[in-house]
């Protein structure tokens, strides 16, 4: 079974992860309605 996307919800945490993992950030703005 393949991956599912596990989203972060907080930008600073995402940037910290990005720096640690040397990865860019995918920032998705969405409207659930």
């Amino acid at each position: 079974m393949g991956n599912v996307i596990i989203w972060e919800a907080e930008l600073n945490k995402s940037l910290t992860r990005g720096q640690a993992e040397k990865k860019p950030i995918l920032l998705d703005f969405f409207n659930p309605g």
Binding site: G2, N3, I5, W7, G18, I25, F29, F30, P32
Partner: protein, 149 residues
Amino acid sequence: MGAVTYPNEKVADFVMNRMVPIQVLSDSPLADEFKVKWTPTIVVLDFYGKEHHRTVGFFPPEEFIPSMLLGMGKIDFDADQFNDAIIHFDTLLKEYPKSAAAPETIYLRGVSRYKASHDAKPLKEAYEKLKADYPASEWAKRAEPYGLL
């Protein structure tokens, strides 16, 4: 995006292996900070938080990954890491040559090769490829002066 593109296995694999994904509501303070006016809006940031690539509107799975590869190439391009940018652009053009991101990628690949070598030949090659493969694209028009090199 949430119903079609993000559940796609190839997209999910790409995102989880190559990026840090964050999803926020369009009425959040972060949306104001990034001046988001419509959804879906997708922004590619470097890990310092600087924006390098943005899309507005739906992207099907076959267009989403090349758009992200273009964004990743732009991060390296903007950091003057031209050889790293070329790797992303080459991957995109090899795996997704018919994608909507391809013409811009051909253009930026030519510029990156020029910046890395200071040889103008890649600029002319980029124009010739755009003229041959994507003659109606805006990137073919932007590259027209390179045809005179």
